[in-house]
Symmetry: C2
Amino acid sequence: MKALVVGGAGFIGCHLCEALLKEMEVVCVDNFSGTARGPVSRLEGKAGFTLCQADASVQKELDRVFGAEAPDQVFHLAANSDIRRSASDPEIEYRNTYTTTFRVLSCMRRYHVKRLFFASTSAVYGDKRGVVLTEETAMLSPISYYGAAKLGSEALIHAFSYMDELEALIFRFPNVTGPGLTHGVIFDFIHKLQKDPGHLQILGDGRQTKPYLYVTDLISAITGQMKAVKPGVSLYNVGARGSTSVKRIADLVCEEMGLWGVEYSYTGGESGWKGDVPGFCYCVDKIRATGWQASLSSDEAVQRTVREYVRGQKQMGTGER
Amino acid sequence: MKALVVGGAGFIGCHLCEALLKEMEVVCVDNFSGTARGPVSRLEGKAGFTLCQADASVQKELDRVFGAEAPDQVFHLAANSDIRRSASDPEIEYRNTYTTTFRVLSCMRRYHVKRLFFASTSAVYGDKRGVVLTEETAMLSPISYYGAAKLGSEALIHAFSYMDELEALIFRFPNVTGPGLTHGVIFDFIHKLQKDPGHLQILGDGRQTKPYLYVTDLISAITGQMKAVKPGVSLYNVGARGSTSVKRIADLVCEEMGLWGVEYSYTGGESGWKGDVPGFCYCVDKIRATGWQASLSSDEAVQRTVREYVRGQKQMGTGER
């Protein structure tokens, strides 16, 4: 078996490549636009691992990889990861999130590859506060260009799955956290507090509340479900118990960094930025019915991420400049 | 007031330009890829009408039009119209259906145009036989590349509407018929019978059953609803009473053409081609609650289309070669 991981050098992609490599050959494709080459390079030289630099939004670059590598299954995680940035430039989502999906599917069609995993997102639902989000929730209305490009990608997968007989697994990710994190609120808070340990500026009113999932829990869900993927499209919300507010994240970061009496200031408003969904409540009954569940709650996922991040920086001798 | 009609030279676009021209200036943009220049050229020279050749999937071409014309509202109907053809080349939908929507929205964002009409389709639902399709039907899963590109376009409109404060009206069209029709089952049957009046080949088993809407009924719905469009996205199914099977269309075409005893043959299978939804049942209560209703039933719409088409050909001296 050979897996192609598109966007495999990103935060989640690296963990996925590492896990898949225990069971099969892995080809990691990335354009290294959003990520340092660092994390995935620790896999270079390992038996069964191949790293290809290619832009998945460019058909001929992806054709080259499919032609040379002939994968049996594809894990498509390539997307814009800086959602705040695309709020001022929707072209980023058109190219990096939607077009990459179209190109991956077009290659699968041409090279007769039938199994696909796709990383979707809670952002496809839009702002549906007061509703428990299940896979059957109607009237999806994303409020970010990112969410729109992911929902458009899901629509493509439905059509290609029918027309080209794919077996496709779609997970709608919540916030994902853990070792190797490169952006997001936890990452930002640690870096802000390292610069100024007495004060922390919080975007919004701090009450934005979302579920966080520890990355290795997510990886076990992906690899487990892909073993049993069925014809057509299987779609799941994935998440852990509970959810964590931005204020609570600030408290956990301060606690893990050993900082007391930090003064918080708030930029105000219910969202961190325009297009950011302030909170959602995820139903994960469907995936739990398959036997999978997260080992860490949302709060525990946040706490462990901070602890490991800070410890990692201390070992590297960075972080306290 | 100035309206920009993107894809305005197509079958529905022509009727829309003509109707809008009674009340405002109209700029028609088309690349004339799918249509003869003929039908819309009858509007050329009329006061308030401008015709621009531009490819709406190319940002700089559309920028030029927005910059020069400064429209107050946009009617976006540009899309691939030959759905059978894109079944063997999904790139057509990526470019002509999805990308045109992204480009139109990007221009609206940059040029601060706030009112949009978008032509969506029943194909966004996928194959949901046994379900009455309402705007709140969940788990949309298009089975054609066309339906996927339209659903992706709807997702874009939700996000741009939120981020850029648009007032957007989306109609999910059923099959639309009437004068100027350029393709589809009615068009095909007439042409087949003109070539061979003794025999008609029918794609599928003839039991595919869908609602047909007469084009001027659709235009009255569009122009009426756009006058009262609200902030955010308003989404409606549009349709007439009843639906019409392909076998019934064959009977109506033969009757209107004065042909009796035509032998039918069927290619078999429940769909005309892969990706064609064999039938659907549309709930149009939401739009009827606004006071609009179609003047013709589905059968009447088909019948009148055939009658006018055949009469038009006789007047033009074409059709009976």
